[in-house]
Every structure is written in C-alpha cells, then in structure tokens.
C-alpha cells in the first residue's frame, strides 16, 4: 500500500521540481492524445492506404522523437512534435475513411447505372 501511493507522489515532486527548474511540464495529455489517434488510424486500416500509411509512419516517428525530447527534458518542443504527430495521425484517419467511402459510393453508383440500363432494356 505504501509503495503504490509513493509512486504518484514522487512523480508530483519530480514535476514540481522540473517546473521549478524553469522547464515546461511533461506533455502527458498530448502524448496520450497522439497515441490514441495513432491507434485509431491503425484500427480504420490506415496501413492499407499508401498515403495514410505514410502519415501514420510520420506520426509514429514523431511520437518516438517526442519521447526522446521528454527524456531530455525538452518538454516544450516535445509538445509541438506530439501535436505534429497527432495532426499526421488524424490526417491518416481522414484519408483512409475518405478512400473507403469513395469506393462504396462508386460501387453504389455503378450498381444504379446497371439497374437503369436494365430498365431501359425491358
């Protein structure tokens, strides 16, 4: 029980200390948010679309870079890099979805065209 409580306290102390040192706070929220977007992009199938895949790759690379920056206490810059990562991941999601909906629409349109041709032939 003592140990589990001790961990967040020590984190808080460290954070205070970091702020005290003049550096920005670790961008936890942005890290969580960027990672969530990357997972979402993977789930919608961004890896199967070349353009989306490229942006997903950018996002992953930038998250990795941000981790390094955080480790080096470069939190301000890490936050911006994480925002870039999120922008890429969100773009990957949109590109994937757009391609999917476009394909569905095209299929539906061609089906309608075929049906209309059927009507004319009757």
């Amino acid at each position: 029980m003592h140990k589990t409580k001790a961990v967040p306290i020590s984190f808080a102390l460290l954070a205070l200390a970091a702020v005290g040192c003049g550096g920005a706070a670790v961008p936890h929220d942005q890290l969580v948010s960027s990672q969530a977007s990357i997972r979402a992009a993977e789930e919608v199938g961004a890896n199967s679309n070349p353009t989306a895949q490229l942006h997903l790759r950018f996002a992953r690379d930038q998250v990795a870079k941000a981790r390094t920056l955080i480790a080096d206490d470069e939190n301000e810059e890490a936050k911006l890099v994480l925002q870039r990562a999120q922008a890429d991941a969100d773009l990957a999601i949109a590109i994937t979805k757009e391609a999917s909906v476009r394909a569905q629409a095209e299929q539906a349109l061609s089906q309608v065209a075929a049906l209309r041709q059927q009507i004319q032939q009757r």
Binding site: A87, L91, I95, V101, R116, I119
Partner: protein, 333 residues
C-alpha cells in the same frame, strides 16, 4: 466572403513571398528569412481545401485549418526563423488536408445516400414494369377466356335453338302424318318406314295413269304431310293386280308411280328426295282371286324413310315428268 483582415493577411503573405524571392539572392548573406517550405505547403494545402467541397460541406473543419494557418503565419511574422513557426505550419498543412479529406467523406457519403435512394427507386421501377407486364398479360388472358366463354355460350344457345327447331320439326312432321292418317292408311312398317297406302281406284281410271280430279285433293293432303318430313327419302311404289300381262302391269305401275311423284313435286315436295318405282303385280296385299282382293292390290304406296329399296328398278325411277300411260290394254285394272 473573406474578411478584410484575412485578405490583407493574404496580400501580405504574397508580398512576403514575392519580396522573399526578390531579396533572396542579395539577402542570404544578410541572414534574411525566406518563407519556410512548411508554411508554403500549408498555404497551398489551405487554398486547395478552400476550393474543394469541404468549403460547403465541412466549413467548421476548414475554419479550424484556417486558424492553424493563422497561428503559423503569426509565429512566422513574430520570428521568421523560429522552429515553432515551421511546426505550426506543418500542423496547419495537415489540418487543411484533413479538412479537405473530411469534405471528400461528406461528399462521397451524400453520393452514397443518393445512390442508395436511386437504387431503391430503380428496383421499384423494375418491379413496377414487371408487374405492369404481368398485369397486361393477365388482362389479355382474361379477355381471351371471356371471349371463349362467350363463344361457348353462343354455341350452346345455337345448339339449343337448333335442338328446339329440330324437336318442333319432328313434332310438326308427326302431327302432319297423324292428320294424314285421318284420310289415308298410314302404317309404320319395320325396315321400310312409314307407309301411306292410296287405293288405285281413287287415283286413276281403269288402265290409265292420269290422275283423277278427286285424286288431287287427296294428294294435296299427302304433299302437305310430306313437306314436313324433312331429310327423309320418299319412295312412290306403284302396284297392280294380277290381271293382264306382267310387263304391261309393270309399265303401268311405274307410270302411275311417276304420275303421283310428279304431282307431289309440283306441290312442293323436293324432287331430289322422291323416287318412283313400278312394282307391277309383286307384293300383293290381298288375294287376286276375289274382286275385293284385287281392288286392294291395285294401289300406290308412299314409303317415307325407305332406304335401300329395289335397286333393280332404280334406273327407271327418275323418269321425266309428265309421262303418261299410253297403253289402254289393262282392261281389268
């Protein structure tokens, strides 16, 4: 629709770009700031998104992209070498591209919905056409059945009319025959038919084949009855007694039968149905020994419905009309 502020900003950007290019050559040494590649890309991406369906379908997302671009532009204006400006431009470019993609999603989603509605409408149209076709065929078949029914009904009615007419004709024929029975001997003889027997003495003078005036009245009644016997063949058979030569009797009986036939035809009995036959002394109905018996044997029989009567005499049956007996040698007839 753009605000004045925005226009000014764009102008400034363009100016910035132009001046950047002009000054680039001379100012590199002076450390003058070129517009970073990220910001150029971001502006392009925004312009593209603005020209896309996103402008009308995803205005909020486009607005967010605009804000991101503005932040990048501000950062660049504050410090043209700042890394933050490049990062913000990078983010702004993605946001613009995302807004455009979201616009594409909206557009395609609408297309898809419209296509689905069209699909249903087209299917309905096909179903309607099929139903229409079937309905037309059904109606045609119904009309054919109705026509068939009417034809059947007409046929039945005609049949009934014909049947009634036939029954009526048969009835009239029977009545005519029974009326005739009141004035002449009418018998039903198996294998021969209805036999009407007329006494020779009533019809002809002795040895003659010319009808007596009184005979005509009787034959008129016979003609009336025969006219009603439609479709029946009629045979007029002449008979004599045994007095006199056979061949003479034969000729006399034929002439008499023909005289009766001619008269009946003149009274409207169809000629093609009536034939005359001479039987001579054959088939006596009584003894030739007594005068009474001989009188009975001298006769003319009219057979109605007779079939297959003596073929031997058939050649002589349709002798020309108006032929009268020339021989007067049958003194005892």
């Amino acid at each position: 629709m753009k605000s004045i502020k925005e226009r000014e900003m764009l102008k400034r950007n363009r100016f910035g770009l132009a001046s950047g290019l002009l000054l680039a050559a001379g100012m590199i040494g002076c450390g003058g700031a070129a517009v970073p590649r990220e910001l150029i890309d971001a502006r392009h991406a925004y312009a593209e998104a603005q020209a896309s369906p996103a402008a009308s379908l995803e205005p909020t997302q486009l607005y967010e992209a605009r804000k991101a671009l503005n932040r990048a532009e501000s950062a660049f204006n504050e410090d043209d070498e700042s890394k933050e400006a490049r990062d913000l431009a990078y983010i702004a470019q993605r946001k613009a591209q995302r807004a455009q993609a979201l616009g594409g999603i909206s557009y395609a989603t609408r297309q898809l919905a419209q296509a689905q509605r069209d699909h249903i409408a087209a299917q309905d149209a096909i179903q309607n056409k099929t139903a229409e076709k079937l309905s037309t065929e059904l109606n045609k078949t119904r009309q054919e059945v109705e026509l068939g029914k009417r034809e059947l009904q007409t046929g039945r009615e005609q049949l009934a009319v014909e049947r009634t007419a036939r029954i009526a004709a048969e009835h009239r024929a029977k009545e005519a025959m029974s009326k005739l029975a009141e004035v002449a001997s009418v018998r039903e003889v198996p294998q021969r038919g209805t036999v009407i027997t007329l006494s020779g003495s009533v019809l002809f003078a002795t040895g003659q084949s010319t009808l007596l005036p009184n005979a005509q009245e009787k034959l008129n009644q016979v003609a009336t009855a025969l006219r009603e016997q439609s479709e029946q063949s009629i045979t007029i058979e002449g008979y004599t007694d045994s007095v006199g030569a056979d061949d003479k009797n034969q000729q006399l009986s034929l002439r008499r039968a023909q005289a009766v036939r001619d008269y009946l035809v003149s009274q409207g009995v169809p000629a093609e149905r009536v034939q005359a036959v001479g039987r001579g002394e054959g088939s006596p109905v009584a003894s030739n020994d007594s005068p009474e018996g001989r009188a009975n044997n001298r006769r003319v029989e009219i057979v109605v419905g007779a079939r297959g009567t003596g073929s031997a005499t058939s050649d002589a049956t349709r002798a020309p009309s108006g032929q009268t007996a020339k021989s007067g040698s049958d003194a005892y007839d």
